[in-house]
């Protein structure tokens, strides 16, 4: 079985222990590096919005603006061989795990140099070599997959874990219920090292959590499956990193699932095409902007002296350059060759079963 399938034993695919070598933004785990990473994600997302508005990016586009501390914080606990799975708001996960911004951007531009050859677009980033088992477009639909992956990790005798990201809105869906129940059950035997990470940005499209369920404590919903859980302030990346490390260690050690609800906020619109935001007030958004995770971290780093204005400008400059390059690369890349239409439908001898 080819290594690219992530099917090699124990998921070992020969990468170095550090994440994302080679991208300027992800070369370490100190707070300044995390800051750099979050700025990189933000800059990337803003470039996406521009690309969408100018018609370079098609389909649906969902950005992570405002929520950066969640993915950044949790992925600080990622170890080689671990797996990550998420929904369609998946750019940060790909980038932080080490995908090159230019390949991610090329994917969004629908180019052959894209992360998945231009076949999936924004919602379907995969980078199996770096641990990303995909972005998925059906709300809740990826949750069972992640639970199964966690089972496989133990079945195959590894001590890897799966980080499974899900939205507040997805928790109304039956797929969440069934999968969480399986995770709890398999966890009893130490066979489900799955870390559930609820990206509670308080809305599923335009529907607030309060209008979605009569019981709004999302962490506590995991009680129904015998899964231990807690909450964290998803705007405070240090807090997220602390719980992430602790939770990941616990899951790795016990083979039992664990859930963390990270309270966060999407300051961008749900999808890039949404212009009206009748469902929330400008005031509410502004209020949350005060707690912007990048702003909070920046303030802290400036205060404690880890950063100064100069260094800050340097980081922003480097990041901008990186993303500008990515955009340029994406723009200049070719569309996939038309023959790609017919590849990857099936694995094995016949990739395509049909007339061309």
């Amino acid at each position: 079985m080819p290594a690219e399938n992530g099917n090699s034993e124990n998921g070992d695919v020969g990468r170095e222990e550090t994440r994302g070598e080679g991208t300027v933004a992800t070369s370490g785990n100190g707070l300044v590096d995390v800051y750099r990473e979050m700025v990189m994600v933000r800059t990337f997302e803003e470039a996406c919005q521009k690309g969408f508005r100018s018609g370079k990016i098609g389909g649906y586009l969902h950005v992570y603006i405002g929520e950066e501390a969640v993915a950044s914080g949790f992925l600080s606990a990622f170890k080689e061989g671990d797996r990550v799975i998420t929904a369609y708001r998946d750019h940060p996960h790909a980038l932080i795990l080490g995908a090159e911004p230019k390949n991610v951007m090329a994917e969004l531009y629908g180019k052959g140099t894209g992360l998945v050859k231009g076949k999936g677009g924004s919602m379907h980033l995969f980078d199996v070599e770096n641990g990303l088992m995909g972005g998925y477009g059906i709300v809740g639909g990826h949750i069972p997959l992640g639970v199964g992956m966690a089972y496989a990790q133990r079945y195959q005798g590894s001590d890897h874990i799966t980080q499974l990201y899900l939205g507040d809105g997805s928790m109304s869906n039956g797929a969440f219920h069934e999968a969480a129940n399986l995770a709890g059950l398999w966890g009893k035997e130490g066979l489900c090292p799955c870390l559930f990470i609820v990206e509670n940005n308080q809305y599923g499209m335009g529907t607030s959590v309060e209008r979605t369920t009569a019981m709004t404590d999302l962490a506590a919903k995991f009680d129904a499956y015998g899964i231990e859980n807690e909450k964290v302030d998803g705007m405070d990346v240090e807090a997220v990193m602390e719980v992430a490390q602790r939770a990941a260690d616990h899951v790795r050690e016990t083979g039992k699932p664990y859930a963390v609800e990270a309270l966060t906020y999407r300051t961008a619109s749900h999808g890039a095409a949404d212009f009206m935001e009748k469902y929330r007030t400008k005031d509410e958004v502004d209020e949350w902007r005060q707690r912007d995770p990048i702003g909070l971290l920046e303030k802290k780093l400036l205060e404690n002296g880890e950063l100064d204005e100069e260094k800050l400008e340097e980081i922003k400059g480097e990041t901008k350059e990186l993303i500008d390059d990515a955009v340029k690369f994406a723009d200049e890349s070719d569309q996939p060759d038309i023959s790609e239409l017919y590849t990857d439908v099936y694995a094995g001898e016949d990739e395509y079963l049909g007339e061309k």
């Binding site: 389909g59 629908g110 599923g204 239409l341």
Partner: protein
């Protein structure tokens, strides 16, 4: 009297008409209320009719579709928005196992006056999980009615019929065409199910489609006329279940040739059914095999060039027609 309206407005008009006429009509779905509807079809209705009639639901397609079935069984007339039909696999158990069958297995003790509506088909780079044409899937099951209007007039008229039908109706909208305009009859212009529409008369070959592919066939018909002097008849099926076999057969008795066009995949699709019916009922009239034009046998790709290549094109339709006429393809 008729007015020029978009497909979107036509749908909305029909629903407003029925909301006003019948208190038992309610709308349900994800983000149809406060948010205004993902496709803006229900925009403003929440303010007008309130939360008891314009019901925002959590993301639980199976749950709220099932609840709507229960409501319908007690005499309400819910119109459920499937934000896109791609999500309906999650509700397929409720639709197929309950809505379609409960009248039968209750020995006729209940009826299910329910409409499930939403955009069907692809075309805007939504890629594999968000691009499906499910007319054959739902059309297979007795107990359901399935329609697929393409003109704004039919969108309105068939929605009126759907809401009044005492059976569950799968209402497949041409999502890519919400913004297109057409003449729409005013007031109560209900369009019956089970009648195909002859979109263009012709004598040499019959092009058969529904939904967005009807426009494709119209363009192909123009090309055939201009480039080959061929007169193509275009039939818009509109109604998938019940299915109007007669209009098809009559047309082929006249033209002796047929092309069935669908966006969906070939195997077990509507075009296969069309071919089966025509060979069965117009066997002696056929001068060439019925040709089928379908989407490529791949999950929908994202990249624009691949997506375009994955769907039927005007050229493919025109060439299929040429094959039935034994003239050279272009």
């Amino acid at each position: 009297m008729a007015e020029t309206k978009t497909y979107r407005e036509a749908l909305r008009d029909a629903m407003v008409h029925e909301l006003d006429r019948d208190e038992s009509v309610v709308l349900m779905g994800e983000d149809i209320g406060v948010y205004g509807g993902t496709h803006l079809i229900t925009d403003g209705l929440y303010d007008e009719y309130g939360p008891k009639r314009i019901m925002d639901t959590p993301i639980s397609e199976g749950g709220f579709t099932g609840a709507a079935i229960g409501m319908a069984m007690l005499g309400m007339r819910p119109i459920v928005e499937m934000m896109t039909w791609n999500f309906s696999f999650l509700a397929s158990d409720q639709i197929i196992q309950n809505a379609a069958k409960v009248r039968y297995f209750s020995g006729g003790q209940v009826e299910v006056p329910l409409v499930i509506r939403g955009p069907n088909g692809g075309g805007v780079q939504l890629s594999a999980q968000h691009t499906h044409s499910l007319e054959n899937l739902y059309g297979h099951f007795p107990g359901l009615k399935v329609v697929s209007p393409v003109t704004p007039n039919d969108a309105k008229g068939m929605m009126l019929t759907a809401v009044r039908d005492p059976n569950p109706v799968i209402f497949l909208e041409a999502g890519a065409l919400y913004g297109t305009k057409g003449e729409v009859g005013e007031g109560d212009n209900a369009v019956p199910f089970g009648k195909a529409r002859i979109a263009r008369e012709g004598t040499d070959v019959t092009l058969i489609a529904y939904g967005r592919q009807v426009s494709l066939c119209m363009r192909a018909a123009d090309a055939l006329e201009e480039e080959d002097g061929v007169s193509a008849e275009v039939i818009d099926l509109r109604s998938i279940r019940p299915f109007d076999e007669d209009t098809l057969v009559k047309s082929v008795e006249k033209t002796h040739r047929a092309v069935a066009v669908q966006e969906q995949w070939k195997w077990f699709g509507v075009a296969s059914e069309v071919a089966a019916i025509i060979q069965e009922q117009a066997f002696d009239y056929l001068d060439a095999p019925v040709q089928r034009v379908s989407g490529a046998e791949v999950p929908a790709p994202y990249a624009r060039n691949l997506e375009l290549a994955a769907f039927p094109s005007e050229k493919m339709v025109a060439n299929a027609a040429r094959r039935t006429l034994y003239i050279e393809e272009k």
